[in-house]
Every structure is written in C-alpha cells, then in structure tokens.
C-alpha cells in the first residue's frame, strides 16, 4: 500500500491517529487491503503527509492491538491473516455497500416494493445456509 492512499485532515475534530486508524479499518473491511499486504512505514506516512511520526505509530499500534495488523521482522507492518474475521459484521457489511446501494436504486427504478426485495434476499440467504 502507498502512503498517499490515506487522507489526513488536520483541522478535523477527529484526531489524526484516529483518522488513520478508521481509514485502514475501512480498507481492510472492504478488501482493498488484503491479508499479508504491507503497510507503508511510519516514516513514509509521516513525511508524505507531514504529520508527526508518533501519531502514525500510535495508529499502527492500536490496529496491531486489535489484531488487524501484525508486525513482521524486517518487513514492518502487514495486514494480519485473521484481520478480516476480526472485523464486526457491520464492518464486513460495509464491503457490500456498493452492491446493496445498486440493488436499492434498481428496485426503485423497477418500482419493486421493498417488502419483495427483502423477502427475496432472505430466501436467497436461507437457501445458502
């Protein structure tokens, strides 16, 4: 992953370490960052975004404590093998958000009542179980 995939807004009330943490969580949840993928070094993120290195390492340490990242000797931080499973169902659901939004839009265009869509979705989910 490249350091410039992160967006940092210094004037936000959300502290910068939390901005970094929530973006990485989202990227992992949506599968844009997969298990084993290397994160940019603390120095790279700090210099790229002109933010304090301790702030970056605090974000990394927090995700490491949550089990989402693993520190590998000689390679720095990588996305943990189990990272995906650790995320809550809501966080994993976020990955389906574009498809769900698309279905909702098409249902409106086709004038299908929400009740029918939910019914069909439920039966599909139950079939799969």
């Amino acid at each position: 992953m490249n350091a410039d995939r992160l967006t940092i807004t210094p004037s936000a009330t959300e502290p910068i370490y939390r901005q970094i943490g929530s973006q990485l969580r989202r990227l992992i949840a949506s599968g844009q960052l997969s298990a084993g993928e290397e994160l940019p070094s603390v120095r790279d993120v700090a210099v790229q975004h002109a933010v304090n290195p301790m702030t970056v390492s605090r974000a990394y340490s927090q995700l490491e404590a949550e089990g989402l990242l693993t520190r590998l000797r000689g390679r720095g931080m990588v996305v943990a093998q189990s990272a995906h499973a650790i995320l809550s169902p809501e966080q994993r659901l976020a990955r389906l958000q574009p498809q769900l939004a698309d279905i909702a839009r098409q249902a409106r265009e086709l004038d299908i009542p929400a009740r029918l869509i939910v019914q069909r979705l439920r039966s599909l989910l139950e079939d799969a179980e």
Binding site: P15, V47, M54
Partner: protein, 300 residues
C-alpha cells in the same frame, strides 16, 4: 503541568523551564512559565502576537536573562551554554538579519566551519530545490528567501534540538510543506527534538505531538495533541443558569459571555477522567474542539 520539579536535570530532558518570569520596562512578558520537554518531542508553541513566544525562545537560548526562574537546554543552564552544546542546537529566528552584507555562499561557509556536523550536501540540495543563488547578498533577499536561508542554516548543523521562531511566517504553502516534511523526517529518523512557535494552527496540528498555548504571558494549555479531543472541550451554558454560580468550574481554562447572555467555557480534564457535573446541567452543551477553535475560544 506546573508541579515543582527537582533541579536535577534528567538525561532525557531537552528543554526545561522553571517558573520563568520576565518583564520589559515593567511590562509583564512571561509569568511563571514552567515546561519540560523530553527528547524526540515536536512541540508547537502557539499564542497571539505579543504573548511572549519569542522571549521564551530567546531565554532558552541564553540570549536574554529571565527576571526569575531558570532555563536549561540539553542539560545545561541556558545562561552558561558550552560551545559543545551550542553546536547541537539549531536556531531559526523570526527575523533573520545577521550577516546581511555577506553573500549567501560565504555566509553558509563561514557558519559551517563552526559546526562539526555541518551537512554541506543538505545545503547544496536545499539551495537547488529552492532555487537560490549563492552569489546573492543576504540584504537583497525577499523576506521569504531570507527565511529559507535561515532554515537551511539551522537545519544544516544537524541539531539534536531545533528551535524555530515562526519559521513559516514568510513562506508560501509549497515551501511551508517542504519545511514541515523536513521537520517530520528529522524527528522520525534521528529523534531530533523540535520546539517551534507559530500561529499557523494547521501546521502545528500536523507535525506536533504536543501543544503549548501561551496566553496572557502564561501557559494555559499544555497537552498531547492526539488526546486534545478527549482532554479539552467547549461547554456552553444558557443565560442565567444557576449551575454557573460557582466562581470557577473544575478544569476551567477560559470563560466568555456571549451577546445572548449564555456563557462558553473551555474546560480541561486529565485523560480518562470525568467531566465536571456542570456538563449535565439543564441546557448545557458540550462540544468537541479542534485546535483552531480552542485557540480562538481562549484568545478572543
């Protein structure tokens, strides 16, 4: 924050101020300022013009003498810094005007000879990046160019401690970002301790790990920037609220009466502690603050 400390200087402390007070012609400039900074910290000092920022930096460097209290830099008293310690300190003044008659190249060479760790590659690279010719005389430079030269000079000594007084005031946004990146790279790679004053709050929010706010000649906020949203907040209490009868709310930093009679306070708490009871008073509202809000709320 203002706890009494022993006069033994710990090896880890890069800067220490003990109850510094300074007056000019009877005018108070600093009132009982105490501060300690460990190695590797990037500390941003904010405050309005005239709050005493420059005086504090000059006292740290031993360029001025406090009326009361003491300052230490890298373990030595500021008023008796040895040459060996001076060589480990980089200083960028707000209005660099020394050696104005000299050519840039000559000045940098002259200064460089006095510093064993002088990095002439860094000087050459920076001059090229900022497109400044070494043949020009310092007095012919624009304020922005002069500030860049002062930065090159302060950074080329590869300091353990870097003191910057409003380093970005005359820089354009691109040069400012270059400077912030340089500060960050040094903090990350060599653990350089950086103490910089500014009133550009967004710069401070990016690069600092700690913020100290000088107001009315004393320190009113001294906080880890990452925790600021947890430790400081704005409390608005409606007009005539009986909850405000107490003369001072626990953790009160500042208080301001609005035109509609309501009162806004900035309140602080230790990380993880509870807010005072008043935040639950009828009609009271607690808002998160970013640094700029905080600055304006207190300094207005």
């Amino acid at each position: 924050m203002s706890a009494v400390r022993s006069s033994e200087t710990s090896a880890d402390s890069s800067i220490r101020c003990e109850r510094i007070t300074k007056r000019y012609a009877g005018q108070m400039v600093l009132r009982g300022v105490s501060l300690e900074m460990t190695r590797g910290t990037v500390l941003g000092l904010i405050g309005r013009n005239g709050a005493g920022k420059t005086t504090l930096i000059r006292i740290l460097l031993g360029l001025e003498q406090p009326d009361e209290g003491r300052a230490f830099v890298l373990g030595e008293p500021s008023l008796g810094l040895t040459d060996a310690t001076k060589q480990r300190v980089g200083y960028v003044p707000q209005q660099p005007d020394a050696f104005a008659w000299m050519r840039i190249g000559d000045m940098l060479e002259f200064v460089g000879r006095q510093y064993p760790r002088w990095d002439s590659d860094f000087v050459a690279l920076s001059l090229a990046r900022w497109q400044i010719s070494v043949d020009r005389r310092l007095e012919t430079l624009s304020p922005g160019e002069r500030q860049r030269i002062a930065l090159i000079r302060g950074l080329a000594v590869n300091p353990d401690l870097l003191l910057l007084d409003e380093p970005a005031s005359a820089l354009d946004p691109v040069a400012r970002r270059d400077l912030l990146r340089e500060i960050v790279a040094r903090a990350a790679e060599t653990g350089t301790t950086v103490f910089f004053s500014t009133h550009i709050v967004s710069d401070l929010e990016r690069v600092a790990s700690r913020v100290v706010f000088l107001h009315d000649h004393r320190i009113v906020v001294d906080a880890a920037l990452d925790d600021l949203a947890d430790t400081h907040a704005r409390l608005t209490v409606p007009a005539g609220s009986p909850a405000l009868s107490a003369s001072q709310v626990a953790g009160e930093v500042s208080r301001r009466r609005q035109t509609d009679g309501s009162v806004t306070l900035v309140i602080a708490r230790a990380g993880g502690a509870e807010w005072p009871e008043i935040v639950a008073a009828p009609g009271a509202r607690l808002d998160a603050l970013n640094l700029e809000d905080l600055f304006i709320e207190i300094a207005r």
